[in-house]
Every structure is written in C-alpha cells, then in structure tokens.
Symmetry: C2
Subunit: 645 residues, 2 copies
C-alpha cells in the first residue's frame, strides 16, 4: 500500500467496512481505530479524540495516512459509536455552568388558573390574567402585544380559564423587565419550552434547537445560506443588496434558509416551529444587517460604518422567521463592520475571557477576524484576506464540497502528489473513488505547504523549474504545478495551482499574519506570549495546523496550544439563549473589545509586506518551520523512508 | 305667517337671505338674529349663544319659531360671523391649562447635528445618533423600532448628518420612558409636529387634527362609521363580527373611516397623514375592540366581559391607520363592556372632576351611559336603552339626516302638528321645502312631549280617541298619531307614531331615568343634589331640554343646570393627546369609577317600572312638568293665543 494511503482507504481495500458517518471529513469522530505504531502514521486531525483516546493509540481513520508498516485494530463499532455519540452530545451541550432554567432563563412557563368571570366580577380578561399572575407567580407587572391580546379572550374561554403563560421576564435591553406575555396556551402545559440558537454564516447557516427546560440540544441542522446565489462573499452581497429592491430579496433568502433548517430541526424533535419562543442569532455584521433588512452599503464603503452593532430584539413576525410570531429574535452584538456578532459570540463560546492567560481567537473565512486578549482586555481586527481560503480567487479553487481536494501530500523525491477528495457518497457506496473537481481551502493550505517544504516553490512562491517534474510547467496562466491530470479529474481538465494563485494565497495568509502582528504590537507584546490559540469557524475544523504554520498562516506555537473549537459563534448563541448573564456578558465583551481598523493603520502595511514570504521574511518567527527546512536540506528523502507498499 | 314658522323660513319668505352654514341644525350659531319681543318666539336651542347674546335679544333663526308678532333684525352678517367664528374656535381649543408643549407633550422634535463618521470614529449610526442625543438634548436612553432603524443610515447620509428626531418621551404605560425614536427626518425641521384625537362613535367617527406645538386644532372632520352597513348598533355589529372572518372586515371598515377623515383633515391643513405622529382614540368598548381587531363577543354575552379595558399603545402600522407607521395609537381607557373609553374621556372633556359639586354626566346614544359624582367619587352605569332615540325601533324612525323631522309642535286646540325637517341643501337652495321621510330622535322626543302635554296621549302613552282628530286613528299597527300626511312626505306614505313606538320610547326613557335613580341611590343621595347635568355626545347637541324633561327622560332640574357640551369624548381625547398629566388623569378616572351592572341590580327593575309613565309614576319628581300640566288644564289654549299669521 503506497505511503500516504488513508487508513479508511486501506481498510476498505482489505475488504472490511468502517463507518464514516460524516463522509470522511473528520467531523464526527466515529471512525476512530487503534494503531500499534504511531510513528508509522501521520494524522491530519485528532480533534475529535480525547487525550485518553490519543494516549490509548486511537487515530481517526479518515484523517490518518500510512507512512510505514502498522497494524490497525478496528474496535467494535457499537462501542465506539456509543462512546463517541456521548462525546458528541457532551461537546454540544457542555455548558460552563449547571443550567437552572428558573434562575438563568428569561423565558418561563407559568401555569395559571383564573377565576371565571361573573356578574359580580366583571374584570376584563387581561386584568384577570394579570391578577392571577400576581397571586400565583408574584409577577405584578406584565405587558402584552396586540396579536397576543387578539387571541386572549378566545383562549381563556376555550381552555376553561386554565392556561399556561409563556413569559419573557427580561431582555438584554430591558433587564428590569417588565415581563412580557409572549403567548397564552390552553391548559397547564409546562413540559416543553423551546428556543433556537442560530449562526448565520456567509456560507452556512447553522441552528441548534434547544430545550429551554433542560438546556439540551434536541436537534441541529445546517444549510448553505441561500444568499450564496447572489454573491459568494459579503462584499458582492452588499453590492447586490444595494440595488433597487434587492435588499428585501436578500432578507427573504436568509430567512428562508433559517426557516428551512428550523423546520428540519423541529421535525426531528417532533414539534412545530411556532412552539419556539426565542431565537438568538450570531453572524457577521453584513449577515445581521441583511437579516434585519438594514441597508448594508455603508459597511462596504470607507469609513466602513454599520447602522447598528447592537440591534434591539425584534419580533419574529417582523422578520418572517417561522418561530412564534411574537417571539423575540435577539441578534447578538457586534463590534464593527468587519468584527460582527459572530466574534463576541465566538469569544463567549470559546470561553476565552474566562482565563487570565493571553489567548488568540481566530475565525478565518472570507475575512480573517481575530481577537487577542484575556479576561481583562480584548483587541480585535479583521483582515480582508479575501475568499482565497474558501477556494475563490484561485483558478481551480472551490468550496469544501463533493469533489474538492481537501488534502495533498507531495513526495519529496518524485514531487508527485497524493491527494484526498471529499467523496461523493454514491460513488463511495459503490466502492468507487470520487474524481476531483477542484481544490478547497484546506487543500490549498496543504498544497502550498507541501510545495514549499519539498522545494517545489521557494519562499517567494516561485516554481522551481529545475526539478524536472512534468508537473511543474508553464501553462496558459503562467507557471503552475499540476495536482491532478485531466485523466483523473471529473471534468477531464488538469487541476493545477498557478503562480497567480500562489501569490493570492500568500497575500491572504500575509494579511492574516499581519493582523496578528499589529494586534500584538498594539498592546506592546508579541505572539510568543499567546498561551492558547482558539480557532473557531468551520474552516478551523479542517485546517491542518502543521501545514498552516508552514506557510505562515498561523503563528509558530506548539501544537498543543491550538484548540479547534468548531462553530464557537453558534455555541456563543446557545449560551446567550440559555443564560441571561451570558447574554449580558456578550454585550460586555462587544463593548470592551478594542477594534483596530487595519486599513487606517500604517504598521499594518509593513507587517503585511514582511509576511509576503513563506513562512515569513523573518524565519526566526517560525522556529519549527526552520527546523523542518533544515532537516529536509540534510535528508531530502526522510519523509518517504518508511513508505510501505 | 302661521304659528310655529321658523324665523329662518319667515325671513326667506320675506325675500331676504340669511346664512345657515350648518344647514339649520343649530350647530354653528351663525344665523343669530335680534328679536324685539322674546315672548312672541319660542327657541328650541340657544346653546350657541352666550349669556350676553341672549340678554341682548339674540336668538338662532334656525332654532326659533314665531308664536306672535315680532320684529326680526338681521345684524350685519360679517360682524356676527366674525364674532361667532371666534367663539367657535375658542370652543374647540379652550384648554383647562396653558399649553406648554415642552412641559406637557410626550412627543418632541429634537434637532440633531451628528459628527460625520471617519476612519478614526467608526461608531455605528445608531450609537452616533444616541451620542448626539445625549450631548445635545440630555437624553441618554433611547429605543428604536426596526422600520425606523431600516431608514436610519440612508436618512443620516442623505441629510448630511443634520436631522430632526421625532421622539416619544413616554407613554401612559411607560411613564418613565425610555424615550423612543419614532422617526428621523432630514434637516432641522422643528416647525411642525402633528397629532390627532379621534372619537370612534357607533354612528359617527370624528377627528381633530392637532398642532402639537401650539395645541391648536388645525382641522376637524367627521364621517359616518363605515361599520354601519354591518349593523346599526353595537350588538348587531358584535354578532356580525363574531362570524368567521368578519372581525377583520369590521376592523378594516372603521380604519377606512378614520383614514378617510384623517386624509380630509390633513388635506385642509396641507400636510400628509404620515406626518401625524400620535393618535388618541376614544370610543365605546365595542368600537375599541373592533378597531383593535379584538373579538367582542364576550361583551355581548353575560357576564359581559371585555378583553381589555386599558389597551397598551399600539403602532399605527399594526392597525392600518395611515398616520406615521411607527406612531402610537393610544386607545383610551374604558371601565366596563358598556362604559367604554368614551365615558372617562367625556368626564375629562367635561371637566366634571374639577369641581366639588355633584354632577350628572350623560351620553345618550344607542345606550345611555351615565356617571354621577364629583372630584372625589364617580359611579357609572349603562342602560340598554336601545337605539330608539337614534330613530331605530320606531316604525317611521330614522337617523338625523336629510328629510328627518327633528322638531314637532302640536297645536293644543286643533292637535295639528307643525314640524321642522332637516333640509336637503339642494332643495333649500331652490327655495323648496324638504319633504319629510321619517322622524329622528330629537323629533321623537319633541313629538312625545307635545302629544303628552296637549293630551293626545295620556301618561301611560295611550292615544286619546275622544279628541276627534283625524290624526288619531287605528292603523295597520294599532293606534297611531299621524305627523305628516302622505301628500306632504317624500315617499307618499303617512308618517305616524304608533302605540308600539310610543311604548318603545317610554321604555327607553324609563331605562335611562331608572339608571339615574339607581346611581343616586347607590351613593345614598337623590337627583335633587345634582348641581350640573353635563350632556355629552352628538345626540345631546340636538336635544330639547324642556321636552326631554316633559317625557321624563331628563331629571326635572332648572334649565341652567344643563350643559350641552357636544363631543366631550373627542375633547377628552384632545386633552389626553396634549398633556401627559391629563392622560394619566384618564386612567385615574377610569380606575376610580364604580360601575353598577344594572342587569344584576334588583332595584333597577323597580325604578324602571316606576319610570314607565310620562313623565314618571311619581309626578313629585317632576314639579315643572306638573306645573305645565296644571296650567294646560286651567287654560288649554294658552299656548296659541299669541300665534300670529
């Protein structure tokens, strides 16, 4: 079996079956296997494995390639599944507090038994309900909205004066109340109270359907943001939305997406979307503006101003979101045009502020948003990295979907690549490989790093034509390296990375690294003081730290300092949904976060220029890369000595 | 000229012209003339004349009939007009306080000059506006609604950061604020701020368009409530509205009416309806429920319960009212199903609570609502008088429109009637009389009283067939008195009042009088302690006190104790619109008003039975009527001795 074969592939070739429920993307952790020789394998990611798992010799079969002889033991799948399912749920709902809905949750269910009216007691329905609320729940003030008032009399009578009040005690902008009657439902129905936490990403919208009585996630769902068809990145969406009438269309598109995943999640939980009485929403400033129907053009134009960073809660009916019409949709607070609500939510979700140690929080997508700080101070900035790491701005770039090359290894002797493609489940089911269609962000990072380490490109990104490899050639678009020949690909065309692509990627990574540098300098420190690197966002879930460091995208810190936290914005939205103190926390985080506008910062350009090399002009910042380079120089074939076949 | 000829008629017959701008309804007071012998004329109403006018010998030509020889002097119309126009405006805006918009008015205009954003100051638009508001107006807290937020960024930029904020500082249910930004308009436009006060009557909807900076009424308009086509009285409307889908239709009908008069008033003032930023609405509980789209069925069914007596302010857009969509529509507080918001508003408008003397407040329409009290206590009740006094439930009854007999005089010798018809302006312009089509409420009171005083009917309402008048006959529907022969009428049929009609009217007046009795008894007093009778509602404007006392509809008190105040509910809505203290006052009035449910009150039936005679079983309660009856007995032709021709 050739070096670089994925374990999951090798197992299949041996005629055995191994479940990979997430399609081999390393997301679910269910393909964990035992290896007897860790030195003979190389793992891209072990994030889904606990410390104990790793110590016991577990690796993820979909994330680990063979580099030597090794015995693989497949544990009883049931056991693994059960354990990891538990882990997975634990990951989802591990809260930094013991959830007490009575104490933490602003939404409450209150059973009420009203005295029926009589000729001796002609109190109006609303005053009668308020009287019962005061006597039975000690709530003396209560507000009501017109639609709720419109159903009040009928519900009270049909329910024979026994009802359950759905009450919102407070909101972030109204911490002292008064409580609001959001709904009144027949009978004493205090068993279920639902909420939803949403992250509106530029690419993906994700939702947790949450049981507000237990604090548990009942279902989750995610879907591409339907706005994609009107622009891949925020800038093109703003431009589209600023044309006549398009804002409403964009608003409707994202609402449709939310409603779609809401319905899917509710279907799984066996409830109706209208039973959801609260929604928190994280998202970048553009996403939040478009969701609220706010013109976003000023976000795009200098001096880059939002209409609002901390929107008031709005009723679902105002937006068209299909939860209960009077339920509040609470769009979480952002900081600036390019440090939106997803960042404070991510900080909250990552618990960055809970520690006195300095941490670096990253959310790399179209833009790279980053925060440096600890429990006392926070400084943030955003780099217009462009969508290079989402596969755009690169000729054969694509999003991380079926057919995308997501990992590349280059043989340091032959310069021949091995790659892994996000498989098509149908072809996979037939035991067929999925032909590649392009390269996604993680594939590009991996490719760039491998090219650099093997010497296919130099530190300036120039292709080395001296190597004599047919893959290094001058193509239509200038110098390029062929990753896959047309005979291997889905479309029959060669998949290659050009010098132009390489320059774009280097500029993108340089912008991000320059951001780190400027932030650290702004507080008079450097990146070596960083104790934890917290990587949020879905991109972070697929990133290969080693390779990201090798190209100078991530600072050169020990791997154990990197924590890949997945969708921290969604977790932040969940925390804000469950606990009013955490919601207030978010506001505090957003307020205390100092925003550095890099385009107005002279030192940024200097830092950017210094970073326009692989990994950096000053290799002293990247000691581990320097070491690898030195090793390669001394022993250029060291990487393949253990390659078995 | 025959006895009973109206002066306005006599003047016309003499070939002279006399302006009657309100069509001869005694509303405008512009037809005042001088008479040299007050004993030779009889005036129905002098309400539009001041004490001085009356002392000087002025009478209203449209309200005064000739009963003897008299010289009529028509004063220069210009002079009269000017004087009365001044009076009229004074009547409209006489406020019980000197209006200080800064101090009294919750709506405020605030000019703001914002610092334009820059790369050094990327504060979001909303925070920037709030910062200016704090610095320039000392307002540190402010809320905003989504639609206002949606236009904020565009308006600020288009207006080059100079705008006027339309701010609502507080509402009755949120007396401490926080202030709300209702709108933001370009430039420093602090010259105009508009509000509207509305009375939604079952029959008529009336509106004042109010300049909130000066407190003056800029225009007024009134129109029939378009709901009339779905039922003449509240009960039939509730029944109609309770059928499937009809509630929305009824809601839309009254909103259409409001929008129609709003547009008319705004047109006169030269503004757009969307420039109106606040509306207060008085109306009975059914009208308010239907306006808000609240099911009203429980109002009709025992135990007669409203959904809400004190609705929260709602935004105009929620109702479809065409003022500014985010403007608050404040439906004023009611007391019970049949003592709605029009009654506290009427009490406020009549200033009943400002005096220590006991007053009786009446609002007679479909129902008779009444309040007894002073500055310390208030007791109220409602009598299901039925719509008899609005012309319904009576064979030839009709509303007070063109062709309605509105006043009747019966010759005490011949028992021949003289009547006055509400004229058709077209016929009037041609010098033609308007043929009658029926009898309206004031005509019925007048007719009943004349029949009783002249002996055409006895105290039980039985017709006296011994008089030998061809007008007293047995018709299809039993005994009746013919008011107009078919040859005189518009439809060619005789217009008559039947015994059944008479019984209905006696029951209606008995219900109202019994209400007075029960209220007085409930507080251990009697009607003789009443110092003022405050008659609100449009019906009160046309009522003839003498005749109303003669049939026992009004208590027998000296005429000078009666004050006909017109639309006190509308005036109350005006006061609530202008002054936050008066708005709070209304809530206090509604709260302290004790409501007597007459259908649950045993003493009501007894009082009702005692009142089923003309004027009452116990004539001792009606000394002035007893005197008239005694005089008639002694000198049966005394009324016509002075009749000239």
């Amino acid at each position: 079996m050739p070096t670089g074969t994925l374990i999951v592939e090798a197992v299949r070739q041996a005629g055995l079956d191994l479940n990979i429920p997430c399609g081999g993307q390393g997301r679910c952790g269910r393909c964990a296997v035992l290896v007897d020789n860790r030195q003979a394998v190389r793992s891209r990611s072990e994030l889904r494995l606990s410390q104990e798992d790793r110590a016991a010799g577990y690796v993820l079969a979909c994330q680990t390639v063979l580099e030597g002889d090794v015995t693989v033991t497949i544990p009883p799948q049931e056991r693994i599944e059960r354990r990891l399912v538990t882990d997975r749920i634990a990951t989802k709902v591990t809260l930094p507090f013991v959830y007490d809905p009575k104490q933490h949750q602003p939404m409450q269910l209150m059973a009420l038994t009203l005295d029926p009216p009589s000729m001796d007691d002609q109190t109006d329905d609303w005053s009668r309900l308020k009287r019962a609320m005061a006597l039975q729940h000690g709530i003396s003030e209560l507000t009501i909205d017109l639609p709720t008032l419109r159903k009040l009399g009928t519900t009270l009578r049909e329910a024979n004066w026994m009802v359950t009040a759905v009450v919102e005690l407070d909101t972030w902008d109204r911490p002292q109340g008064p409580p609001r009657l959001v709904d009144v439902v027949p009978g004493h129905a205090t068993n279920h109270l639902w909420g939803a936490a949403v992250d509106v990403g530029t690419t993906t919208v994700s939702l947790y359907l949450v049981d507000l009585l237990s604090g548990e996630i009942a279902a989750q769902a995610a879907e591409y943001n339907a706005q994609i068809k009107r622009g891949e990145d925020v800038i093109s969406r703003i431009i589209y939305a600023s044309r006549n009438g398009n804002l409403q269309e964009m608003q409707a598109l994202v609402v449709d997406t939310i409603n779609q995943i809401l319905e899917r999640a509710c279907g799984r939980a066996g409830i109706r979307p209208s039973e959801v009485y609260k929604m928190t929403v994280a998202g970048n400033s553009t996403m939040i503006h478009l969701l609220l129907g706010l013109p976003a053009n000023s976000i795009r134009l200098e001096p880059f101003i939002t209409t609002i960073n901390q929107p008031p809660p709005v009723q679902a009916a105002e937006l068209g979101i299909a939860i209960h019409p009077q339920a509040h949709v609470d769009c979480l607070p952002g900081v600036a045009s390019y440090v939106g609500a997803d960042i404070p939510a991510g900080i909250l979700g990552s618990q960055m502020c809970e520690s006195k140690t300095v941490a670096l929080f990253l959310d790399i997508g179209t833009n790279g948003e980053m925060v440096l700080g600890d429990c006392d101070w926070l400084v943030s900035c955003a780099c217009s990295a462009g969508p290079a790491f989402e596969g755009a701005g690169v000729r054969d770039g694509m999003r991380a979907t079926v057919g995308a090359i997501e990992e590349v290894w280059i043989n340091s002797q032959t310069y021949e690549p091995t790659y892994r493609v996000i498989p098509d489940p149908k072809l996979e089911a037939q035991g067929q490989p999925t032909p590649p269609r392009g390269i996604c962000g993680s594939g590009l990072i991996s490719l760039l790093a491998e090219m650099f380490i093997t010497g296919v490109i130099d530190k300036a990104g120039n292709l080395n034509f001296d190597m004599g490899s047919p893959r290094i050639r001058r193509g239509e678009h200038g110098p390029e390296y062929v990753v896959a020949w047309g005979s291997e690909t889905a479309h029959g065309r060669d998949i290659a990375i050009t010098k132009v692509d390489i320059d774009n990627l280097i500029r993108a990574k340089a912008a991000i690294y320059a951001g780190f540098t400027v932030m650290a300098r702004s507080v008079g420190t450097d990146l070596s003081t960083v104790e934890r690197v917290l990587v949020g966002g879905s991109f972070g879930q697929y990133i290969n730290v080693e390779k990201a460091i090798q190209i100078g995208l991530l600072p050169d810190l020990p791997w154990e300092k990197f924590h890949f936290l997945g969708n921290t914005a969604l977790k932040g939205a969940l925390l804000a949904l469950l606990h009013r103190e955490f919601r207030h926390h978010l506001t505090t985080i957003a307020q205390k976060m100092t925003y550095l506008e890099l385009s107005a910062d002279n030192s940024f350009y200097e830092a950017f220029t210094s970073a326009l090399f692989l990994p950096h002009t000053d290799l002293a910042h990247f000691p581990s890369v320097a070491e690898v380079l030195a090793a390669r120089r001394n022993n250029p074939i060291s990487r393949s000595v253990q390659g078995g076949s």
